[in-house]
């Protein structure tokens, strides 16, 4: 007859007890910390709770996407900071992807000089701390840049000075809205054309240059709308007034430094991701495609790129997340994003715990969204295997 295991040796019981002990320990530690915190905060006369978010902020914010005055609440200030973070992150993601892809492909160029120059770029930027790079960009833009009167003009209308970078922008006209509508319509029509072309080829074997047609549509329709509306092209040209430029779109040195610094740094990492993605597709794939008679362009489009993208996209999304988190370094150069504004808030209200917890929650939410996107992508495109 089999003997019953001694109670003490029953693995399930032991596991349950162990877990209970762990949870009890964590809860006890948590309670201890919370208790100390409350005592300390009471002693220092710091309030608790999130009601401070409704109080008047009474500090200035240099750049904001929405209207903000010092009379607005801390809550609104936080929103301003969040929007600034998202703005820098969105622009940074787009620019660094473009730059990174170019450099990544340059790393695989036939030209030895181009390969080595790309390598120098990647190795230099990856081996220097990001904060140092941001500070260098900021100093270059702030200190070495000329005063507005002697601003540098690399392109007509674009001025670089100590006050930042200023671009000419077209004055808004209703025709632009029509152009936008035309563009969207053209995109939809173009997509329909491409879809039809694919079906046509499947049915008859003859290819129609639908891609070119779609591109022509996307470019031509807005152009037609533009011309039909009378071709309004009034520019808001930056002009020098007293100590600064007026008109046009201006970027502060802080914003420019943050954007360029983050872009250049992240592009170096993206370059490596793109390079290893393309190299990661085994040579046998290109050989098999060539042996079947596929031309270089077809091989790239049908065989290499689909497989390379599978390797590239997950680490790319991680880089985007890293870029968003790295934008918090803006606190060191004075751009008012989420971290900076949280810092000012907690300095003024003294409610460090709430402010920091709120900020961390927001960053965490952004991270989770990107992780979710990554998981969805991975699940959809994974190679089907046994």
């Amino acid at each position: 007859m089999a003997a019953r295991a001694a109670l003490w040796n029953d693995p399930r019981l032991r596991a349950a007890l162990f877990q209970a002990a762990v949870i009890a320990g964590v809860v006890a530690l948590g309670a201890y910390l919370v208790h100390n915190t409350l005592v300390n905060m009471a002693r220092q006369g710091i309030a608790t709770g999130f009601s401070y978010l409704d109080r008047e902020a009474s500090f200035e914010i240099g750049e904001s996407l929405i209207r903000y005055t010092p009379a607005d609440s801390y809550g609104r200030a936080l929103v301003v900071g969040l929007l600034n973070t998202l703005l820098v992150a969105a622009l940074g993601v787009v620019l660094s992807t473009v730059l990174g892809t170019v450099i990544g492909i340059a790393r695989l160029s036939r030209n030895w000089l181009v390969r080595k120059l790309a390598l120098v770029y990647v190795e230099t930027l990856r081996n220097l701390p990001l904060l140092l790079q941001l500070i260098i960009w900021w100093d270059v833009l702030r200190v070495s840049a000329p005063p507005p009167r002697q601003a540098w003009e690399p392109l007509p209308g674009v001025f670089l000075s100590v006050r930042g970078i200023v671009f000419p922008v077209p004055v808004y006209s209703p025709v632009y809205r029509d152009m936008g509508i035309a563009f969207v319509a053209a995109l939809l029509a173009g997509w329909a054309v491409v879809w039809w072309g694919r079906r046509h080829r499947a049915r008859t074997g003859r290819a129609v240059p639908t891609a070119t047609m779609a591109v022509a549509l996307a470019l031509g329709a807005p152009l037609l709308a533009f011309l039909a509306g009378g071709a309004p092209l009034a520019w808001d040209w930056p002009t020098l007034r007293a100590f600064n430029f007026a008109g046009g779109l201006s970027l502060s040195p802080e914003f420019a430094a943050l954007l360029f610094g983050l872009t250049a740094y992240t592009a170096a990492f993206i370059a490596e991701i793109v390079r290893s993605g393309i190299e990661g597709v085994s040579r046998g794939q290109t050989e098999a495609a060539s042996a079947l008679g596929l031309k270089r362009g077809q091989t790239l489009r049908l065989i290499v790129l689909p497989q390379a993208l599978r390797i590239i996209v997950p680490p790319m999304l991680s880089e985007y997340l890293a870029l968003t988190k790295n934008s918090s370094l803006a606190i060191a150069i004075g751009y008012p994003e989420l971290m900076s504004i949280t810092n000012t808030t907690l300095n003024q209200t003294g409610q460090a715990v709430e402010a920091i917890a709120l900020m961390m929650a927001i960053y965490l939410a952004i991270s989770l969204v990107i992780s979710l996107a990554m998981n969805l992508y991975n699940r959809r495109i994974a190679f089907v295997e046994r």
Partner: protein
């Protein structure tokens, strides 16, 4: 008629290839007639794979002439494309496209290179899938198949382009022993149907069954060429004797 006079399907005349300082192919000359089956054997590093990869321009030869079905192989892209349409290749590592189903693997080239209609291409693909005896796998992905099945799909994929010549680069070397037979059976069937074949392989049983000509290579040169009966029974060169004694000992 032109076709009868030009007997050779593939001609190599004094072909040389270097990798840097390494002389990979040394004065290689070979003629393969239409319908002939040539088996190339030799120790590793002897240039066997290099030679057949030169035939469809996966490698470039630096000296000598390679002529396939009357078309000379040069740097001219048009001629290379024309040759690749007529020459099918089966790789040691299968090289199936993992992101496409078996059916899509087979129909890809007929649709994009021979501009076939999709329905025609799929009919063709099913025909060859039945030929290699796995028609039920058409909707699966390569990752879901065994090694032997994958290689048979690779053979079908090459056949879908209706090549005049089939090149095999050690097709069974990456397979588990119990799957080698199913692939060799397909290759024997192809041979019996009259396909011109050049096969690099260590499978001597297959060679004895199928080959019209045995070519032994070593150190980048063709050391010996003879019909299989003569080659296996009485190899002339010492190197061939050494090779055969090693490979046939187990």
């Amino acid at each position: 008629m032109n076709g009868d006079e030009r007997k050779a399907m593939i001609e190599l005349h004094h072909v040389h290839k270097w990798y840097g300082a390494f002389h990979a192919l040394n004065d290689v000359s070979l003629e393969v007639a239409r319908g002939e089956k040539v088996v190339v054997c030799g120790p590793s590093g002897s240039g066997k794979s290099t030679m057949i990869r030169c035939i469809n321009r996966l490698e470039e030869h630096q000296q000598g002439q390679i002529i396939v079905d009357g078309i000379e192989l040069t740097a001219d892209l048009k001629q290379i494309d024309a040759i690749r349409r007529e020459v099918g290749m089966v790789f040691q590592q299968f090289n199936l496209f993992p992101h496409l189903t078996v059916m899509e693997n087979l129909t890809l080239a007929p649709i994009w290179v021979r501009k076939m209609k999709r329905s025609e291409a799929e009919e063709l693909a099913m025909h060859f899938l039945e030929r290699v005896r796995i028609p039920e796998q058409a909707g699966k992905y390569p990752g879901q198949l065994s090694g032997g099945q994958q290689q048979r799909v690779a053979i079908a994929r090459a056949l879908c382009m209706r090549p005049q010549v089939m090149l095999f680069d050690e097709p069974t070397s990456a397979l588990d022993p119990e799957m080698i037979k199913e692939v060799l059976d397909v290759m024997v069937g192809l041979a019996e149907d009259g396909m011109t074949m050049i096969c690099v392989t260590h499978e001597m049983g297959f060679a004895r069954t199928v080959a019209d000509l045995m070519v032994f290579m070593d150190g980048g040169e063709i050391v010996e060429r003879a019909p299989p009966e003569k080659f296996f029974a009485a190899p002339e060169s010492e190197r061939a004797q050494l090779f055969l004694s090693r490979i046939l000992s187990h």
